[in-house]
Symmetry: C2
Subunit: 418 residues, 2 copies
């Protein structure tokens, strides 16, 4: 749904006003915001939890860096499946609305608060933020900011941070990927899937099994050893090729696959259930069915792990960063990844660039699993006029989502970071 | 209970005869078996599942190596807590009795079957076996046999195999021990505990937290950074020193500690539940209460692992070797350990040597947690006469065990290898 369609939804809009602090945010004139006012910036606002219609671009007060913070003029932001979950409020302890979504972006350092070392104005940086990424300007503690490699573009950097850091930590710090091992990754065409495939290629003799929609196979076949359609029984397909199973299973799908994933592990193998940004390519028809099965995950008996010599792990990069204070460890990983990038061993795959005003269409593309690699919000991009049919599709999906809003009753049980 | 006490138990003995195939095994004359007959050998026999009185030394037919097997003249055997569990039949799918217990030994190659390469008669070797270790001669597939370092004694080799291989694989292959990490190990004075402490000392800056009975502290204090009495609340003690917890928890205690162990993990930390030989120093009053809680282990919700960025693993070396065919991987580990041994970075701790005829006293010592390091059956050793008081102690413990035999109703649920 294009921003210009929002005017048609006046009735629904008025129902949201109790959640809306910035009343001026609902005006259509926001679509053309002057970049001249130094006290204001454009940002994507989620006015309340719900469908695509809860998103719009508005003006917000320009943030200024506090002590220990860096002020970044944003160029590109990453869009993740988690952002769809946030939009619905389908996360654990959801924050209050209105809010500015987004957990990662890249840009240029514009100012620094007191006691900030290691950065200078004009530096090209990428950063993790705990919300507020989808804006023209972000202020964030310097622990979360990294100087980008010279050759890396801003969209690449925004596509890089979440997906490659998560993939690296899962493969090399949670599991222990070594020569000759095998890895199964679902949604091999998604942002994490492509990062996993590329990182596996840096270790000799690693076999990658991947699932993806068939239409993506041609595009990604060089990065994955054995590709299966996402609708086939991947357990059978893997066992046909490797009867003993695989060493590492990365599962962003849902809890209903935990048993299957554990069953596919070779002795001493590791099953990793991951989510947050990595669920961007969740292979379920609707992310509501994904959400449902996600917290219905079956529990695991440690005795069975003992008998079978297996390992099960959970991985949430955002929790690690924003709840568990592991910035230092993540920084070390980012440096290793930048080194691999500079050696041209890895390269983020950008699916498409979208203007801030096109965030709904971008979300719909993730929802429909249309992407190969990462969707990026390009802050300086102007919206591309949509075809009438595109607009209709988006609208339908919005309605489908609204039907499920009763699911929010269970939102306290959702495992995502707030 | 000394072998000579067994004659007093005539009534109980007759109840066992239905399990006893080798009727002559009950005679006291077995204690002095002539080593001269090349068709016979001495071995410890478990006539049926139960108390200490089910064990005796008897003659068995001399085994001969099949194709791919090595025949070993045994010098020393390792005694593990698992052997106590086997004696009671408290293992998953217990094998048929009578049987010869024991899973590890060292000795000299005496003959080879067809198609055996890599060994010569006279080689000093150590080996894993799936039962039958406690005998003068063992025949075993060459995949499980390793040439010992020249400087290693036979008791050291028998103390080495299970404990150090398990400790190494848990620390470096299941978890990912690196510089600056912290490890909690229970029963720090036991065979695995001492192996863990020594292996941790090979990595710079690793902090080892350990629990052990207070009387062992003086003997092991140099190997463990922070020692706690096994009766204190180790969770509180660890948190006083390291509020954030530890990176690796090795838990051989029982399922009731799984929650505590997981709770003590730092983000990205690994909890490993291990058993089999490693339970040799289980810190519960009786191994029956241990057994009970062991399979009452609480199940783990993967969502919680996701939220907290934690890893839970099970590790069973015997399953890995004898059910899951990972001889090759274990061989690589053994080679790395021998290298560390040759560099004098590790050295197995032998608690005490026992004659085959003293197996009951040795088992009682493990049961009472009296050992520091490993108990070894020295095949060439003659029994040492016991003091009267020792005999009484043993007898009491035997009665205590008998009271709990009703627990065997649940033995199918026990997680040990058969």
């Amino acid at each position: 749904m294009k921003p210009t369609d929002m005017a048609k939804e006046g009735t629904e809009m008025t129902e949201e006003t109790e959640h809306m602090i910035e009343k001026n945010g609902a005006k259509e004139t926001e679509n053309v915001v002057s970049a001249g006012d130094p006290k204001e910036m454009r940002a994507v606002i989620l006015s309340g939890f719900g469908g695509l219609n809860k998103l719009r671009v508005t003006k917000k007060a320009m943030p200024e860096p506090q002590e220990g913070e860096v002020k970044i003029r944003v160029k590109a932001c990453g869009l993740n499946f988690l952002d769809l979950m946030v939009r619905q409020g389908n996360i654990d302890s959801p924050p209050k609305t209105p809010l500015v979504p987004g957990f990662e972006c890249s840009g240029i350092v514009e100012a620094m608060g007191e006691n900030t070392k290691g950065f200078e104005i004009g530096d090209r940086v990428m950063t993790f933020v705990n919300y507020n990424a989808w804006a023209e300007v972000v202020c964030t503690p310097l622990d979360y900011v990294y100087n980008m490699p010279d050759d890396m573009t801003f969209p690449e950097a925004a596509a890089f941070s979440m997906n490659f850091v998560a993939a690296y930590m899962m493969l090399f710090e949670v599991a222990n990927l070594r020569e000759g091992m095998s890895v199964l990754v679902h949604s091999a065409g998604g942002g994490v899937g492509q990062a996993v495939a590329q990182l596996c290629s840096t270790i000799p003799g690693v076999t990658v099994f991947g699932t993806a929609s068939s239409f993506k196979h041609e595009a990604i076949k060089d990065s994955v050893t054995h590709l299966f359609d996402r609708n086939v029984d991947y357990v059978q397909e893997v066992k046909k090729i490797s009867p003993e199973g695989v060493d590492i299973v990365l599962d962003c799908l849902s809890g209903e696959n935990t048993g299957k994933g554990l069953g596919l592990l070779r002795p001493l193998g590791t099953y990793i259930l991951y989510g947050s940004s990595n669920m961007v390519t969740g292979e379920t028809k609707s992310f509501f069915s994904l959400a449902k099965s996600w917290w219905q995950v079956e529990k695991v008996n440690p005795i069975k792990l003992y008998e079978e010599n297996k390992v099960i792990a959970g991985f949430s990069l955002l929790n690690l960063l924003f709840k568990q204070g592991r910035c230092g460890q993540v920084k070390t990983v980012v440096e290793k990844l930048f080194s691999l990038y500079n050696q041209k061993k890895i390269k983020p795959v950008v699916d498409s660039l979208w203007a801030l005003e096109e965030v709904k269409e971008a979300m719909q593309r993730i929802h429909d699993r249309g992407n190969i690699g990462k969707l990026i919000l390009d802050v300086e991009k102007s919206p591309t006029p949509l075809m009438a049919s595109d607009s209709t599709e988006t609208s339908e999906a919005g309605e489908e989502e609204e039907e499920h809003e009763g699911d929010n009753d269970n939102k306290e049980r959702m495992p995502f970071i707030q």
